[in-house]
């Protein structure tokens, strides 16, 4: 049984990693062939960094992701406080709406927002670009913030807030002193989730980006539809290495934290 499970795990890992490995290996190939390795080169990396289109779209991606996830976090956190004071009926209704962007297929979200923006564009001089992209991203980000903060907020002891007020805190101060620290982990994980979804989104951006603000996934899509250059492999390799490093770091930090906690106890 043990052996079997190891074999199975190995096979699955092969399946999951084979394509990525292939991309990485061929990013060092000195010819454009995608099946025969002819020699080693760094040429494609050099080209990648000189590719202005990729660099601008990377910058665009980061701008959109940061702005959208920050606004979504504020919006979502405030919403949680308000929603939890609602009566059961309206609350359920609001939560249903919150779920829509999560459940709906991405393409429908993208198309529906495009229709809305076109409607506005015709009447209000709205231009497709950063504004539409950020609005669209906030819209699919915000439910994740709400869903992350909600459980943390529920766990708060209502008496604490009242106690703070009894001790002379105004409602705003009580919020920052008592509530905010309690729900912070939820806010952070909500923000990170929103941020990463924004970074990676293709479908919704595809329908809502205009002529000026191309994000990295859109550029990658355009690259796959043209003469393909091994630059794309180089790009994949860099992204993969970054993901790997971030995750390993995260793991190490968590381990350390765990150990420390262990020592304190």
């Amino acid at each position: 049984m043990k052996k079997l499970s190891k074999l199975y795990l190995g096979l699955m890992l092969l399946f999951l990693y084979l394509p990525i490995l292939v991309l990485i290996v061929f990013s060092f190939n000195d010819s454009k062939s995608r099946s025969v390795f002819t020699g080693f080169t760094f040429e494609w990396y050099e080209k990648l960094f000189r590719n202005e289109l990729i660099m601008t779209s990377l910058a665009n991606t980061l701008i959109v992701a940061v702005v959208a996830s920050l606004i979504a976090t504020v919006l979502g956190t405030l919403a949680v406080i308000g929603i939890s004071k609602m009566r059961k009926g309206p609350k359920a209704a609001v939560m249903q709406v919150t779920n829509i962007p999560i459940i709906n297929p991405e393409i429908v979200t993208g198309v529906s927002m495009m229709l809305l923006f076109v409607f506005f564009a015709a009447r209000m001089n709205l231009e497709f670009g950063f504004v539409t992209l950020i609005i669209a991203h906030i819209t699919f980000d915000v439910p994740y913030v709400v869903l992350n903060v909600m459980p943390k907020y529920r766990q708060i002891d209502a008496n604490m807030y009242e106690a703070a007020q009894d001790l002379g805190c105004g409602p705003v101060r009580a919020f920052f002193k008592v509530i905010l620290p309690e729900i912070m982990p939820g806010i952070i994980s909500g923000f990170l989730m929103a941020f990463t979804f924004s970074l990676d989104d293709f479908v919704v951006s595809y329908f809502t980006s205009g002529s000026t603000a191309q994000t990295l996934p859109i550029t990658i899509y355009a690259m796959t539809r043209r003469k393909v250059s091994p630059e794309i492999n180089a790009l994949s390799t860099i992204i993969f290495v970054c993901v790997l490093v971030v995750l390993v770091l995260k793991n190490v930090i968590e381990r350390r934290a765990d150990k420390k906690r262990g020592v304190v106890r």
């Binding site: 062939s33 099946s35 990377l58 564009a121 990463t196 980006s209 205009g210 002529s211 993901v243 490093v245």
Partner: protein
């Protein structure tokens, strides 16, 4: 689910980005511009224009020693260029019509230009701002799609033919005509146009119909022929053709002569033939869409594209034929007489047809037929799938109901 990778990606990029300044950007390629003062008007105005062009349709500096024309334009004029690409005329139309994006420069083909003129989607050009228009050869001015030449400036032209793998097909033995794209022998090795107008044109050429037919019967017949072709077609593609033909994935593909030239330069195993029975002749022209925000800067861009040196760089890199006399004169004699890029006038007038804009109804019909063709079954999915699937759903629902019923009974006891 934290995907924070891109942050690090940025850091890596920035670090290498700093080192990059010492690397020479492009090998020295010089452009001679006739009247430099003309281009200085917007030097410090901080203007940017949005250019929407075909993929692989301008020298973009991606290959070594090739000029990046957009960067050169920015350097010359101080106008920033936001450059994005489309793959088909229809995509361009959809994006303009319903996409809400705003562009200053677009490069549609003949029939799409007349459609856009007809639908009022193009801005009239001010030719005072485009002095280099004089370089355009007379025969490319005042064409049928823009009779008074008010909306468009020719960029490139060319014909459609068949790219083939000369190690697999010997044109001496096999007659190279449009029929070959239906040949069972090359099953799964044939690529086909992924846009309705070009695909229908090939079916119409095979059937001997006019490329501009408005007859619903003929169009339906053409659609049927395209459906018949599906089993032998490997994939419906546009610029993916570069990759697939280059790598030897496929051996036959109808495509534009210019791209064929680019491919043949790079790969010895590829050849190109313009079928003798006739083909499509196309003109791609630069236009400014209605509502462009930077019309004057856009006209400056058009003028820049008409500079003989620039037009030469374009035709030299993308392989399409140039309508620019200045650029044409710069070509070596071999290219000037190249039957692929510059077929003789007799063939052009006798055997080629330019697409015309079709009536609204015909456009609608073609779109519907195209979607039907694309959605037609190739790999026959079992006809029983629907009934079986529905039956499964019903059984599942019944199972749920029964299970619940039993459980409720149990609860009572």
């Amino acid at each position: 689910m934290k995907r924070t990778f891109m942050l690090l990606f940025l850091v890596v990029m920035l670090v290498t980005g700093c080192a990059q300044e010492e690397i020479e950007l492009v090998e020295e390629v010089t452009l001679t511009i006739e009247d430099e003062t003309y281009y200085q008007r917007f030097q410090n105005a901080g203007i940017s224009i949005n250019v929407y062009n075909w993929g692989e349709y301008i020298p973009d500096g991606s290959d070594d020693g090739v000029l990046d024309l957009n960067a050169a334009f920015t350097e010359l004029t101080g106008i920033k260029v936001n450059y994005t690409t489309f793959a088909t005329n229809e995509e361009l139309y959809a994006k303009l019509k319903g996409g809400g994006a705003s562009y200053d420069i677009i490069i549609p083909s003949d029939y799409m230009i007349s459609r856009m003129i007809y639908e009022g989607m193009l801005e009239e050009l001010n030719f005072d701002n485009i002095p280099n228009y004089s370089y355009i050869m007379e025969k490319f001015k005042n064409q049928e799609h823009d009779p008074d030449n008010r909306y468009s400036v020719p960029y490139t032209w060319g014909t459609v033919g068949i790219i083939y793998d000369n190690t697999a097909i010997d044109p001496e033995e096999t007659p190279m005509d449009w029929d070959i794209l239906w040949n069972d022998e090359y099953k799964d090795s044939i690529l086909m146009f992924d846009n309705p107008r070009d695909a229908f044109a090939i079916a119409e050429l095979k059937l001997g119909y006019s490329l501009n037919t408005e007859s619903p019967e003929e169009l339906k017949h053409a659609a049927k022929v395209l459906i018949d072709q599906k089993p032998v077609v490997q994939a419906y593609v546009m610029d993916e053709i570069f990759d697939k033909m280059g790598a030897g994935e496929a051996i036959l593909a109808p495509y534009y002569a210019g791209d064929a030239k680019t491919l043949m330069d790079e790969y010895d195993h590829l050849s190109f033939v313009i079928p003798q029975s006739g083909t499509n002749l196309f003109f791609d022209s630069v236009c400014i869409p209605k509502g462009a925000k930077q019309k004057e800067a856009a006209e400056m861009y058009i003028n820049f594209l008409c500079e003989p040196d620039v037009a030469y760089a374009v035709t030299d890199y993308i392989g399409y034929s140039t309508p620019n006399q200045g650029a044409f004169d710069m070509l070596d004699e071999e290219t000037q007489n190249d039957p692929i890029a510059y077929p003789d006038d007799a063939y052009l007038t006798e055997k080629t047809t330019v697409y015309k804009n079709l009536s609204e109804d015909t456009n609608q019909l073609m779109q519907t037929l195209w979607t039907e063709m694309k959605s037609a079954e190739v790999e026959h999915t079992n006809p029983w799938i629907v009934p079986i699937f529905m039956l499964l759903c019903i059984l599942l629902s019944i199972a749920i109901v029964i299970r619940r019923h039993i459980r409720n009974k149990k609860d009572i006891f």
